[in-house]
Amino acid sequence: MRPKHKMLSHLKYAGVLAAAISAVILTPVSGAEQSRTVINRITESQYANIIADVFGSDIDLGGRFEPGMRQDGLLAVGSSRVSVTASGMEQYDAMAHAIASTVVDDAHREMLVPCTPAAADKPDDACAETFFSGAGLLLYRRPLTASQLDAYVAAAHIGTEQAGDFYEGLSLSLAGMLSSPMFLFREQRTEPDPDRTGQLRLDAYSKAAQLSFFLWDSGPDAQLLEVAASGAIHTDEGLKRQVDRMLASPRLESGLRAFFSDNFRFSEFGTLIKDTIIFPKFDPAVAEQAREQTMRTVLDVVMKQNADYRDIFTTKRTFLTPELGSIYNVPVFKSGPNGSPDQWQPYEFSEEDPFTGILTQISFTALHSPAGRSSPTFRGKALREIMMCQEVPAPPGDVDFTLFESGKDLRNATARERLALHSAEPMCAGCHKITDPLGLALENFDGLGEFRTHDNGALIDASGQLNGSGFDGADDFADVVRDDPAITSCLVERMSSYAVGRSAKDDKKDWIKGLNADFAQTGFRIIGLMRAIALSDDLYTLSNAEISTAAAK
């Protein structure tokens, strides 16, 4: 039989928690917190990272996240436009209770609750206050106000009285904290910028959070919060010291992973399907490994080697599992005992191998193909939009498909032959001429990513041109893509928008222009670009015009 307090429904505490949460939300802000700008819902990875940072990586989240909204190519930008649906709130609530229960369970409380209650079955406000002031600082990314702290202590007090268990009360109140908008949303609070008349800057804690979410994809750690508390984060030296510390931290990998995962649209792997009759090697494990392969490849170039960002399009170095090896048709032997899970191994394709850079990796070829075949159109569109920040219009609603469904039998035609019909049709030609030539360069890779020389029995022609530069096959194409200036300018635009949490291309043009120049000067080193962004005033300041623009959007 379960203990009595466990049998009490959460609903019994609904009134208590609602009162506590309302008190927190409705707490008036001080004069220094009067201006609020962009508010971003924290992403799935940020949620997970914060919980791991605050309570440990063994805490099971116990729920699912509702999908984000992509804007200007990034979920991070779209996160400033989304709220929480009713079902999404249910999930947040479920996760909050699951996490809170684990934090105070027998296995964790000694480590995670920094005090012991005077009596386990009675409220202990002092202990609860100690716990919430510490956890609240990390979860809210700023110290709790007195009224916020009082509300959570009061909620724990009432919960303990009703459950007859201090930790149960603590858990219920913590669950309320984890469901709070203060945790679930990144709020940028501003204050007048003393150095720039008429401009606003983020307050110290918002600045710390801005920096931390950008570089680490998580909330600020204790050291960064201390620097925020002291105000040193507003000094050039104080900021520089923190940026250098954070860039040197292994946690930078989390930040880079989050950025590239967002930029490369890896969230779409969640809905990727393949016809396994046509592509029997595809399964969810391969999808997961494909995504990880590209992430490891990119991190190897931009972080481990700190090499030219553009090399991700031409590198022969990658990381493979035996299963991925079977798709690329190269030998990747298990390194562990028989029966052990497959492990990642570094691999370098030979110059003669057709696999060059991330565009020839499964994460691109398969993700941007329909279930049963390749698609030069999808791939070209993805390349334009993801890597070059170029918008490809959606097809018109009145497309005439009879051109493709009747007349000439296209069942045995190559993709190039099928797509040639588009170029002859004015309604289609406008868009297809900007997508298809790029995608056709990758036609030697089928809808999964396996190399092939023929399509429907005909030799594949993977030649073409991009901005006047000719190519023949994926190897050539990789070189042409690498040298296209849109590749680097797109990255700067995306990374700056990602950092500020909203689109930066319109109202921060000068900043982006300067970053582009810096990026080129450093030989297109991403760490250098991140440092430039992180040290830039533009990441932390807003002109009134920008606020107006943001509000209007």
Binding site: D283, R317, P331
Partner: protein, 387 residues
């Protein structure tokens, strides 16, 4: 079908990268450095294994073996069961009902010095009902004894039309219901057996090495066991182009001289072939005087007939291990299979009794392209053969 290396998936580009050359010293295929290619290899992981059967109508002139209950009924008089009891049991089965007495009798249908014994452990103690063997004209296999058309027990090979083919295992088992089938419509027992093997034992791999596999000439054929199990796709089909490490255990390392001719690889009398196997089927697949005929399809997959003389008692224990449940669900009467194997054994006579202890056999294997390498003591894979 023929062996067509140039039609495999882009063989020319499949050279080991420079980085891998450093890791895989002593490659069978030379890397991209432009050095002269001394030889080339293609490897396959075995994705199907079954006796090579070629069941035809009218190939059992003595009749296909009756259903298991009918065979069981035949024992009852030999076991001293009263005729009235036999009638009662038969009537029960005729009415669609089981009679536990039949099972009880069958569980101890062996007799040693008049005492009932377990028939699966003591198959020789079970009455030989003299069920018929197969006497059809065709069977897959090889002319192992070299008698050719003069071999009175020889079959005609259905693909090569070679005469004097020795496949007494097929003669012994070919009229048992669970052993009738073809290469594409596998016998019940062998389908079941492969299901057991594939999920419970490391994969077998076959490697063919030669100076130029697109031309006729001598080749070397290796038949070995991997450390890994067969890897499959989501639809359970064998996964092509996976890498397998060779088990260095000498009990499963075999190398034979062979010939490539018109795309077909043959091994003729290359010695003994031994690989460890799941004891549920047989503890070891041992084929003396090993023969093989292998070809490769355009999609890179391989099919082969392998044959040789096999210890027939090993084959029996694969049946005997299954006991009453296996008899009823998979193989039929194991004791009679024992007697058939013993009767048709055609090689390696026991010097004291004269009883042949081996039986000529032929098996059908399929494989998909694979990479194989030999792990060194340092843990690195030191040799890679590419399909």
């Amino acid at each position: 079908m023929a062996f067509m290396p140039n039609q495999s998936v882009c063989l020319s580009r499949k050279t080991i990268s420079a980085a891998m050359v450093a890791t895989f010293a002593g490659l069978a295929t030379v890397g991209a450095s432009g050095s002269v290619r001394a030889e080339e290899s293609r490897a396959f992981v075995v994705s199907w294994f079954a006796q090579a059967t070629y069941t035809q109508e009218n190939d059992c002139s003595g009749g296909v073996h009756p259903a298991l209950e009918e065979v069981y009924f035949k024992y009852l008089p030999h076991l001293g069961v009263e005729p009235e009891t036999i009638d009662e049991i038969k009537q029960s089965y005729a009415a669609g009902e089981e009679d536990d007495r039949l099972k009880d009798f069958m569980m101890v249908r062996g007799r040693i010095d008049g005492e009932p014994v377990n028939p699966w452990t003591y198959p020789a103690a079970v009455q030989d009902l003299e069920l018929p063997g197969l006497d059809g004209e065709y069977a897959y296999g090889f002319d192992l004894d070299g008698q050719g058309a003069n071999d009175p027990d020889g079959f005609v090979e259905p693909e090569t039309f070679e005469k004097g083919v020795d496949h007494q295992l097929y003669r012994a088992l070919g009229c048992a219901r669970s052993f009738r089938g073809s290469l594409t419509d596998s016998p019940t027992y062998w389908a079941w057996a492969w299901g057991q093997l594939v999920s419970s034992q490391p994969a077998w791999v076959v490697t063919v090495t030669g100076a130029d596999l697109s031309k006729d000439g001598p080749v070397t054929v290796k038949f070995e066991r991997a450390l890994e199990h067969l890897r499959v796709n989501g639809d359970s089909s064998p996964r092509a182009n996976m890498a397998y490490r060779i088990d260095p255990d000498p009990r499963s390392r075999n190398e034979f001289p062979g010939q490539m001719k018109e795309g077909v690889v043959t091994v003729s009398g290359g010695g003994d072939m031994r690989v460890l196997q799941n004891p549920l089927v047989a503890p070891e697949l041992m084929l003396r005087n090993f023969h093989m005929r292998m070809d490769v399809a355009a999609d890179g997959s391989m099919r082969a007939i392998i044959g040789g003389y096999q210890p027939w008692e090993d084959v029996y224990w694969g049946f005997g291990n299954l006991s009453i449940g296996g008899e009823q669900q998979v193989i039929g009467d194991a004791s009679q299979l024992y007697h058939l194997l013993k009767r048709y054994a055609d090689a390696d006579p026991n010097p004291e009794t004269g009883q042949n202890m081996s039986i000529s056999a032929a098996y059908y294997i399929e494989g998909v392209p694979a990479y194989v390498g030999l792990p060194s003591t340092s843990g690195l894979t030191t040799q890679a053969a590419r399909n």
